[in-house]
Subunit: 222 residues, 2 copies
Amino acid sequence: MATATEKAYDIIRRNILDGVFEAGTHLKEEDLVRLCGVSRTPVRDALRRLAIDHYVVTRPNQGTFVNQWSLKDIHDIFELRAMLEGVVARRAAAAIGPGHMAALKQAFGTIQAMLADDAADLDVNLFLAENKIFHMTMLQAADSAPLATMLSSLVQPPIVARTALGYNVEDLRQSNEHHRELIEALGVGDGAWAEAIMQAHIRAAHRKFMASYRPGGGFAAP
Amino acid sequence: MATATEKAYDIIRRNILDGVFEAGTHLKEEDLVRLCGVSRTPVRDALRRLAIDHYVVTRPNQGTFVNQWSLKDIHDIFELRAMLEGVVARRAAAAIGPGHMAALKQAFGTIQAMLADDAADLDVNLFLAENKIFHMTMLQAADSAPLATMLSSLVQPPIVARTALGYNVEDLRQSNEHHRELIEALGVGDGAWAEAIMQAHIRAAHRKFMASYRPGGGFAAP
DNA sequence: ATGGTCGCCATTGTATACAATGTGGCGGAA
DNA sequence: TTCCGCCACATTGTATACAATGGCGACCAT
């Protein structure tokens, strides 16, 4: 966290993800100055960067607001993610090398170990971190900068995080079984197989998310 | 062009599109201050907005550079555009109303009129404007904010503009015939048909673009 | 001659002061 | 009472001054 802009970015982002700043909230620059302990200039910079990542939207002369998605938007996002992550899997099957393959297996193994232990002490954030590593590795293996750019604008952290909150242990096991099958498909270079299982993987997440979604913006406990 | 930020944004963007700022150029804030006649603050704001739209990339403590795409990136961009614009067409076929349909027919008619005249006096910018209206109308008819966001990050104006430069009159006629067929498919609500012809439309543009592409960044005259 | 290191300068990052804008409330008139 | 217009304030937009960073070249040591 070397620069003031980064500091402001991280603090604001964290508050959005933690739900302190609810969807639609008007983020006033002066308040953020007090919260972050930096001047307005880096705060404004941070808000622009958050706009790039679609955490917020800025309306000229009005201010910056925490982004919110309609139910329809969320459906569309999952729909598009299923399609694009499917492409990622297909391309990864054609291009993956031993390094990325090893990273995938390790992420799978780490999650598997989490699930083998008593489920009670499972740390959702730890799961999310490993899950992210898995998907990022796939993305790198697919070796397409435009594809990576598009997906990054589609994988909305608030939604992904809340999806995980809706998971129970059985759901997590199913999720990691998909990972296992993806590794298998990639191992034999079967792009169509990899694409299909990846689409199932995302669509399953979609259903789990909807099951715990509440229109008001709140979410059911896991 | 009310605000200084908008002014800077438009000037810098125009210079990039016109090729004054070539790909990879280091855009120095102080130079842009002199060019735009505003202070550094709105210039920096404008550069952040240009980064959102992928015209430039910013590296911390190093500066802002005009974005450049590799040949592979360009292929990927067209590939993804074909897929996503296909989805747009499919969804538009299911949801389009009379207003959007009329707009599509008008854009088609305008382009048709351009091509009926003597080809010598054809204004490429005018064609581009109507072409954009056509595709934006399709996007609105598809009625999906996430889809619109993704495509906007994929439709790189420099590439689209240079694609048109590579067109000859026959290519333009083919392009507008695709538009005609899209309207027909949408009229009978055949989403699969619309999707297929849209994919062909983008892939044809891809080939026309590659035919006039020169690796150095220059392009053959039309 | 070559390799590394130090310091200067160009450039970006940050803070603060001031200007402009848009909004909400108050008051007056119909 | 209700609607319109105006004023004041809260908030964002802009300019300028200062701080920090990093790249590049010169210089020294080997």
